[in-house]
Symmetry: C2
Subunit: 108 residues, 2 copies
């Protein structure tokens, strides 16, 4: 499943927002989503599965709980795709910034 297919769903985007700050058990995520979107816990679990399978989230087992966290890799891919359009709204680098960027690249 392509990254944009995953992000297309507003529920999945909201889940990622919730996980962006810190990890959360599935139950907490489900509670928020059930309240905000009016869907069942099973539906949330299915969305979490999509996020897992597509690499947007990782799970850690803690007893009967499953703790979910963001895996940023696919989001980074999306960011990379967007890069080609960034010139439309970002101001050009000025000389000093260019130098800094250059220095950083060398440092690596």
């Amino acid at each position: 499943m392509h990254a944009f297919d995953v992000l297309r769903d507003p529920v999945r985007r909201r889940i990622l927002e919730l996980l962006a700050g810190e990890e959360h058990p599935a139950g907490e995520v489900a509670a928020v989503i059930e309240r905000e979107f009016g869907i069942t816990q099973a539906a949330v679990s299915q969305h979490l599965k999509v996020l897992r399978d597509s690499g947007f989230a990782t799970v850690r087992i803690d007893g009967a709980r499953r703790i979910y966290a963001v895996d940023p890799e696919p989001l980074r891919d999306v960011d990379a795709w967007l890069a080609r359009f960034r010139g439309f709204w970002e101001p050009k680098l000025d000389a000093l910034e260019t130098e800094i960027a250059r220095g950083k690249r060398k440092a690596k």
Copy 2:
């Protein structure tokens, strides 16, 4: 239609890539897409309509031709949404860069 719904479709993403560099008449876009994806001109026209209606593309009439170009606004929104995750992969700003960013903000 939400921005991510629009970007979900690979044909529409490809069209935006084509338009990213420079504007193109619908016919040129259709020729490329027909070849790359094996779909008809009508289908491409429908995708162009979606891009128009959702604000991703603008049209300029030139005789019998319609010249399409990227409108970056919705892409910028997507970029803004992604910003909250950028901390996962971007290194922290160092002191000098922070100063530059601060100066720019003041300058505005």
